[in-house]
Amino acid sequence: MSNEKLVDYDDAVKRYDPVIGIEVHVELGTRTKMFDGAEQGFGAPANTQVTPISLGLPGTLPVTNGKAVEYAIRIGLALNCQIAEVCRFARKHYFYPDIPKNFQTSQSDEPIAFDGHLDVELEDGTMFRVEIERAHMEEDAGKNTHVGGADGRIHGADYSLVDYNRSGIPLVEIVTKPILGAGERAPEVARAYVQTLRDIFRALEVSEARMERGNVRADINVSLRPTPDSPLGTRSETKNVNSFRSIEKAVRYEVSRHAAILDAGNKVPQETRHFHEEDGTTSSGRPKSDADDYRYFPEPDLVPVAPSRQWVEDIRAALPELPAARRRRLHDAWGFADAEMRDVVNAGALDLIDATVAAETTPAAARKWWMGELSRVAKQADVALDELAITPAQVGELQSLIDAKRINDKIARQVIDGVLAGEGDPAAVVEARGLEIVSDDGPLLAAIDETLAAQPDIVEKVRGGNLGPIGAIIGAVMKATKGQADAGRVRELIIERIGA
């Protein structure tokens, strides 16, 4: 547990203006690595996705993956960036066992995309514009695993194991300009920004963008200044914050920590920080030092990338609809209220409802199921909506059974239980469980007559024009038919029978 001095967050943001900056790394979902033909994919045994190039063996040379360049341009265009006419790769030098060449091939002052922006929707529907400084291409590092020192090595020292499967996987790094004006909402802006990026990566089909696999990683810069008119303060850079919740926590923590340092009249040291998932704190990494003299120079083994304007326009024309535009389109098409739409988005139900509507269900019905009964089930089971064992097509089928009056809403819940229990599609569940509502009027009329005979006083009232008590009769009939009757039809038949 950290023993840093902290100022209460709400107090801190009353007295200081937080400024954040975010660097997001996304691993591209190409089949092969950035500069060599080694296959990439999650979960392969250690060092089985490596060529001599991924290992940086003497004599090897890089060759750029054209698909990765295309993906980088896609991302740049989606973030409203300019695409460079010419840009080069550069070598960024630092010695580290997971960097096989002891330099990372990256882009220093010549990013492929620059000067963009992204409009981010906050939870209450406010739009916040984040300015993008640049998006550049680079390669990922290998992975170190640390092993404890209880095995009798010299001084009982710990040691590390290195796996180079990840070494060379294409990355695009997206760097914001300082995000000003977020005020107390800085943590929310940070989270929403990364979440929006994640959705864009998926829509663009450039990455699976799974945070938990490290496909998307964020470094969060935070600084405070007394007022929005003051010059920027010294920032800290919290590395590898890898979940949406953690992003909010990291910003909050750093704001509280900086405020305490500034309150005490001290200077915030410029340093990198490590984020601790378990308690939401950060701890000091290393100060900026000589080791940050990266000695960039243009990578002589790679030639410049000069995307023709035709190529860029072709990529632009083929861009899929982006999440924000799609949300606007669906919002209009579905006619939901603003608050309803926001709830749908926040619940992660947008895709599910869209797919359910595609299965010929009305938007209102689709929303009713996903935001109602299915949300309740998901919450109970503590899983995401899209992790439920029911597909939009099955929800669509469920609704069509209702529309055909073969089941009613109440029975539908039992059908959902059956589908979730793996009993098959809704129609099969209805069949197997014998849930089909009685639609033949014969047995219904028998049940109605029986009920009416037992309640002559109510019948009188209804005949007299007071339809209020009819509900009691319907309820009794439904009970007699064990709920398997169509309530609407029961009502019709009762009125017909009584002759009201």
Partner: protein, 98 residues
């Protein structure tokens, strides 16, 4: 007289991850003056209006298709490793990691 100090050489050697003896540091400090002299001559002719040439021949857009090739067999991967364990390279403790 050397314009590059021994401290500077030691700093650069640390950056380049090379252990040097004190004798080597002193020797290189003197020899590195060659670079200072070169810079003086070069900067006289290489005025900023001259564009830089980073690649001898002007090629652009050399791309590879996104088609996988086989991995090196794991035995070949680790054959040259000074030390390995569980299919991975063994290295000494890495400073600066949690």
């Amino acid at each position: 007289m050397s314009t590059i100090s021994c401290d500077e050489v030691a700093r650069v050697a640390a950056l380049a991850r090379i252990d040097l003896t004190d004798e080597e540091v002193a020797k290189f400090a003197g020899e590195l003056d060659v670079i200072v002299e070169s810079v003086a001559r070069v900067s006289k002719v290489a005025t900023l209006d001259v564009p830089a040439t980073s690649h001898p021949l002007p090629l652009t857009n050399v791309f590879r298709d996104d088609v996988p090739e086989p991995s090196l067999p794991i035995d070949d991967v680790l054959a040259a490793a000074p030390e390995s364990q569980d299919g991975k390279f063994v290295v000494a403790q890495i400073l600066g990691e949690e």
